[in-house]
Symmetry: C3
C-alpha cells in the first residue's frame, strides 16, 4: 500500500528513500538503526500530509472553418489521468481571446442553435460595424461571442474523475478559426 | 492550542497519536522516551505543514416553475462550515446544462428584470425555432440562458468565510425546472 | 539552496529553526546532537512536502465615468509577485455586482465596441424599463452587463507567472462608476 507513495530500500551500506519528487539519504554519521527510524518518519509523514500537486498542458486545435465547436472532454480526461490528482480543481481555458471553453450538451442541433443565436447577438457582418476591425482584423464579433460563452471553466475533481452531472461535456468554442490555437489545462490538488 | 490539530494520548503500554485522518502508533520496539520525541515530531510537523483539504457536497433543488432564482448562500455557507477550510477556493456549479449558478443581488425587482431580459435574448417560444427541440425537448432556450448567466462561480475563502463584497449573494438559476436537479459545492484549501 | 525555505542557526546554548511561518525550538531536554538531527528532519520535510500558500488583496478603483474598462494586469502581476506562489490558481473578481473582471484584448477600438454592444443588449435608458430601478437605483442595466462579461476570472499560475496566451489581459469592467469599488485577488498554490 505504500508503493504508490514511497519505496523504502535498505541497501548494503546505506538507506535511500525513494520519493515521488526524488531520493533522499539519511544524515551523515547516523547509525543504521537510527536511519531506519528516520526512514519510518519520512514514510509516515508522506502518508499523513498530502502535498499540493500541479499539472499543466496545452491542447492545440486548428478548426478548418471560422466557427466550430469541438468536444475536448476526452483530452481533458486524459490530462487528469496524467496529473495523478485525485481531489482538486481543473481550470480549462482558451488561451486566445476570440475563442471559448464552456460546458454544455453534445447535441448537434443545439450546436447549430448556438451558432445562429451568437450570430444574432453579435453578427460577423457587416465587419465595418466594429471599430476593432479598423485595425485590419475582421474578428471583432468573435471577441463578443467569446464573452457570452465564457473564457473557460473550472471543474471539480473527485476521486480522480471530472465531477460532472449527467450531460456535462467540455467544448472548445472557436469563433475565429483556420489557424492553430491553444487551450490551457491546469490542474491543482492532491 | 494543539487540540484542534491532534490529541496526544500516552496510554499504559504504548503511545497513540490521534490525527484528523486517523491514528498512528510509534515504530515497534521504540522505547517510551523515544516514542515521546516521535510524537512531538508529528505534532510539530502537523503545525508547520498545512495539508490540502477537500470537501464535496451536492445540493438538490426542485423548482415548481419552469424558471426560478433561488438564493443558495445559506447552504453554501453551511458547506463551508462543514469543510473546515479557512483559506482556499469554493467552486459552486450547476450539474445540469439548463441551469446556472451566479452571484448577484437578492432583490426581487432585479430577478424579474433578469427573467424578462433573458426571455428577450433567448425566448422560450416558439419552441420550433430551435433545432435542439427536434430531439423531443422544449428547453433549447434554457441552454442559451444558462450560457449568459454562467455555469458556476469560484468564490474566495478567507478566514473561514466566503470572501464577499457588500451585496454578493449566490443564486441557483433554474431555466428548465419542475424536476429534481443538483448543484455541486467543491471546496479546496487548508 | 535551503535559504528560501528555512535558515538553521545553531546558537550557543540551543538550536532555533527559523521557518517562514515562525520559529520553533527543539523539545526541552534534547541533547545537542539529537537537536541537530531534529533540525535536519524539519529541513528535509519542508523540502519534501510543499505547503499550501494563500494570498489575498483588494484593489480599489474609482472610475470617473459611469462605464469604463481598466487594464489591471500590472496590479494582478504585482500581487502574484508578493504572494510568492509558483504553481497554483489566481481568482480575480469584482466585489460589486454592477462590475466585472474579464480577460480580453487591450485595444481601444474593441473597448468602444464592447460598450456599444452591451448598451444594445442591455440599454441604460429608459431607466424606467427595469423594475429594479424602482428601488431608487438607476443601475439595473449594469447588473445585466456584468452577467454577460462575467463576475471574474480564474488564471493559472505556472513558474511564478500568469499563464497567459499571446494577447490576454485582465480588465476591470465598470458599469456603474463614479464611486470607489473593489476587486478581490485571491491566490492559492505553492
Amino acid at each position: 500500500m505504500l508503493i504508490r507513495l514511497v519505496s523504502f530500500i535498505p541497501s548494503d551500506n546505506n538507506l535511500i528513500l525513494h520519493l515521488p519528487g526524488g531520493s533522499v539519504t539519511p544524515p551523515l554519521g547516523m547509525t543504521s538503526s537510527a536511519a531506519c527510524v528516520w526512514g519510518r518518519f519520512l514514510v509516515l509523514f508522506c502518508l499523513i500530509l498530502r502535498r499540493v500537486k500541479s499539472y499543466r498542458k496545452e491542447l492545440w486545435f486548428e478548426a478548418p472553418t471560422r466557427r466550430a465547436l469541438i468536444n475536448i472532454t476526452p483530452q481533458v480526461t486524459a490530462c487528469l489521468g496524467e496529473s495523478g490528482v485525485r481531489e482538486g480543481l481543473a481550470l480549462v481555458n482558451a488561451m486566445h481571446i476570440t475563442a471559448s471553453v464552456f460546458i454544455n450538451d453534445d447535441e448537434s442541433g443545439l450546436h447549430q442553435d448556438y451558432d445562429r443565436w451568437l450570430e444574432k447577438l453579435a453578427p460577423h457582418e457587416p465587419t465595418s460595424q466594429y471599430l476593432h476591425n479598423r485595425t485590419g482584423e475582421d474578428n471583432a464579433d468573435a471577441h463578443m461571442k467569446r464573452q457570452i460563452m465564457g473564457r473557460g471553466v473550472v471543474v471539480a475533481i473527485t476521486g480522480g474523475k471530472l465531477d460532472f452531472g449527467p450531460w456535462e461535456q467540455i467544448f472548445y468554442g472557436e469563433f475565429d478559426g483556420r489557424r492553430r490555437k491553444r487551450v490551457l489545462v491546469k490542474i491543482i490538488g492532491e
